[in-house]
Point group: D2
């Protein structure tokens, strides 16, 4: 039985793997100075409709987040993040290790509200001794979020406005951006995001690459000397070509969007089956992650194919399904069958 625990359990999408195989014996310069990285950057600039952005290919998400934040902030500045943000809950204190506080705000859906930002900034500015507290300087959001929700264009515009009012950078973690952009409910484009965020990344690891995240930096101040920061944090791959080759394959011919759309469709199939079977959700997610609330003993039976997420009450547990590029209808239907059995 196929597991749905996460979207990075398999290797690369066949087209990506093929591109790696085809280029394996070529010689290229290291550290991202090769034709494939150039091509990947070119494609991304086109998708973002902006020639003046910085594009940097890194290996993983924690690495990408910490490099960007290290490059953007002065020592006394901190990051505003939802309490569910990856930098807060899954990066072992990477941001603090770079010297910066993560200032968290509680959310019901993983999405930060503009008024939470302005309220934090107002409180900071009006404090008796503002210089005795961390200065908020960057807003971290994820799209899709860690619990599957997405931002729409109106929300992102509003976040940008509030950030501008308060002199803040806006940064989007796009580990699962593929699934956000191809959700039925999405109205954002890569060009919108590049225009509205100071930086964001196009996640590859969770969208069919062996590894790789393409960081886009629209803000030139942050982008300046960014490669030094990458190198210093051990985030510059020696055989950088591997990243260029993979992103070229992923972003050519719409593969990236195809992968997102397909996984979202599989997720919807599961979602509909749950609705039919009166299985409630932790949150109404329009993307490839689904959080089912099931009796504890059901959760126990599913634990090899779903991620145990958290207790929702004494008798119930939320489990996460996370659909990858590799899931097909047959596997999904098998899962639905098992779910019906164990729920019966």
């Amino acid at each position: 039985m196929r597991s749905f625990k996460s979207d990075y359990m398999e290797g690369a999408h066949p087209k990506v793997l093929e591109a790696l195989i085809n280029t394996n014996y070529e010689q290229s310069n290291g550290y991202g100075y090769d034709v494939y990285c150039d091509k990947a950057a070119g494609i991304i600039k086109k998708l973002c409709n902006n020639e003046n952005i910085g594009v940097h290919l890194l290996v993983g998400g924690t690495q990408t987040n910490l490099c960007l934040i290290a490059a953007a902030l002065r020592p006394h500045q901190g990051v505003i993040s939802p309490a569910t943000g990856h930098i807060q809950v899954h990066e072992a204190g990477a941001i603090e290790a770079a010297g910066h506080r993560v200032i968290t705000v509680e959310t019901s859906d993983g999405k930060i509200k503009p008024e939470q930002i302005s309220s934090l900034c107002d409180e900071h500015k009006s404090g008796r001794n503002r210089e005795h507290t961390v200065q908020p300087k960057l807003v971290y959001i994820s799209n899709s979020t860690e619990i599957g929700s997405i931002y729409n264009k109106k929300e992102l515009l509003e976040l940008r406005r509030i950030c501008d009012e308060n002199g803040l950078y806006l940064y989007m973690d796009g580990a699962r951006l593929a699934y956000a952009l191809t959700s039925d409910e999405n109205d954002l484009t890569l060009a919108d995001i590049a225009a509205l965020c100071d930086a964001f990344y196009i996640g590859g690891t969770k969208a069919g690459l062996l590894f790789g995240e393409a960081l886009v930096i629209s803000n030139n101040i942050i982008n300046q000397d960014f490669r030094y920061i990458m190198k210093q944090r051990g985030a510059m791959l020696a055989k950088g070509r591997l990243l260029g080759v993979q992103f070229e394959a992923l972003l050519s011919n719409g593969l990236y969007f195809e992968i997102g759309k397909r996984a979202n469709a599989m997720a919807k199939r599961i979602k509909n089956a749950c609705i039919e079977n009166n299985i409630p959700f932790l949150i109404d997610s329009p993307t490839n992650q689904q959080f089912l609330v099931v009796p504890n003993n059901t959760a126990e039976k599913l634990k090899d194919i779903c991620e145990i997420w958290k207790k929702t009450d004494e008798n119930h547990t939320a489990v996460r399904l996370c659909i990858s590029w590799a899931a097909d209808e047959k596997a999904v239907d098998e899962f639905i069958g098992i779910l019906k059995d164990v729920s019966a």
Copy 2:
């Protein structure tokens, strides 16, 4: 009119100042290698009833907290602190700048409960991927707390037990320890604290010195090479003698306790006047800080002699009074008179 905004508005207690004047022309080695620092350390060891503790004299509280925490933790480890803890709210991210997360817990009275610690540690240990989260390693408490409350011996014993169970260090910020130890409700001694905490400090700045905090480290692992850490963080005073001289004066002949007792008595005089006049408190504090809840316009009138603390509802504001070594009965009675006037 005398202000009660804080307990560090005046210079040094006359006996402390006198000691500085008397020794001004003596020559001594720098950086704490002088007879006065030795004497001060000797007195502290006696008060703590332990010859094997490390005693280090530093200039200020933020400095002391950050040096101790930097010395104690490995990079992946964090500090558990009440959300009101000084390291969280008034140190501009000093702990994060040293690379460590402050993990906060909410409290009603500024005091952390043992079950909050064990719950945090259990959650950490049972996490899906514990190494993806910050490892709690040190518990930070203040005594008296930032809002005037104190720990009793039973509570401290219980905190020690929970820390031992979870492999945690226990560290007490004693910026206002003078006022805790001389509170009517106190049952702790310096020897108890030295025995139960891995480290703590005897605050001087807020207890009649020009400046100075005497850090006591009972745990030899943390104490090892501590002077390197002090030097590295700019926390080793060149004319270290100034600290030794002041602490010798403060801790000889019970001056430290006398200062605490006197300020607490003044605070009680104000407290009683409030009770008589039906002025409620934000918290029932048995120490030199009192938090009065008054109508907004009263707060406005008091703002030059009290610290505006926070709104408690739309119409009321908590103001803080903080009694120093320099306050006398006359000043206190004057304040009570004003309070009655503006409250009338």
Copy 3:
């Protein structure tokens, strides 16, 4: 014409690539908790003849160095390194970004001498104010070094002895360990190195992998909680299996040693041709890097196939050849032909 600029210009050795292809569609747990990582660790423990070592698979060398050093040192401690050490010259201040000084010593051959270490430690210990200076705590060496030389067993034993005398850790950067261990002049085994060093790594990136370094930590104090440090520094690969699969392929059936031996043989072929043609060397290297000293105009002509290393005098330049797993006799002979032409 094939370039010899570096040993990481091509992708993976065919056997390594094949293993990746074969396992691409398998599902596995992330972050190194998979059977391939277990197998790779098992092989390495056997090669090191020690079941109690920690084995951690990371993506790149800078990352590996900074994680190990961050895990090993307290804030006031520094690293002793040859002035040519990778951490000093090619890591953009990664060690300093982790808070530690690199204390360099000059060498003629890239190898640190025991008496340089003891002299530094003696100077530190006898200093007027030793706590005003960085405490040396870890010795960083590379094998083979950045200029191709290697340590023999007697030298390593002596370094270990001096480190023990001074309470220092000994850490070997093994980015090119494959070439050291298979050099004609080598008398060390992986088991020797594991026994004599507190930690070292088996470099994969420069020995036929797409990427990957296998860090071996013999010292349990350093090894404790090491995975937290990896995660915190963004050095834990999500699809960790990729590292396990590659190292299993590399270390099974002697492929690792075969790759090293072959490249060294190619290097020797070039070396002999130089000797025949009276082309001198910057250093007498017994490994896969060769540093030829040629007239400036020759260097200019070779600049697309050799790395320009440095000027040796006004008229001469050292160029580096660095032989990878992918170089064959034909390519080498072609190079020798060109070299004769341009030198003529």
Copy 4:
């Protein structure tokens, strides 16, 4: 017998002490928001002939250096310093703990040469992979230097020019600036220094204060939010008034220059006595530090009144005399007498 080991063995100059005594019972706001700090800043701005500089009063030199450098640099940037610089040899890795490398250059006289800076920058810019190395961004100099020498105006102008050419900040550590500015050989004013450096400090600890360094930041980019950085590094004194009061006393009525002149005159008296007695110097110092080269057994006899500096050859040792505000002619003549005796 009075010791000449250092210029911070005594307390404060009587006029400074008197100012502290006179203001001891006044109440003032904490953290530098008081009238005395304002007055001190006003005097300094006048002396620097610039109203737009930032003035910040800190407790000690290491603290001042690390705060300024932390405020000025991004993570990948480093500091160029003479190998004898205080940040390199006496601050226990404070700069590295803030994340930055100290890039040292060898000097004969403690003074960096413009061509050393441009050579370092050229090497950095022309490197194969410049982003693999630390980017030089700030030049650290001391005046007077750690070995007593001083910069003249022509030299400082030239340093400024080279810094501008290379986009570098210029920062002067003025721990002993009093002695530089009042040296017979000096042609610089505080206004010159404020105009030519991005930042510098007027050292108080070594010029008659109990403690205190007045940091002047001419560069507004560095000055922005500097108080956050101070607070974060534990460098903001609670009773900030103490610094304002002392600096007001020191800088009013020329006391600062008087102290410098007097100590230099005493140093010259010793210098002349040495010349008469054929005692050579390590360096020809025109300020309050003198480095005498004496036979080892003479050094041994002087070790309680001079600092043992270093061996100059097998039979000779350099000892340092460092004249403070408290030294008078009688003490100096006594020393000369002893010197003649032990040298005889």
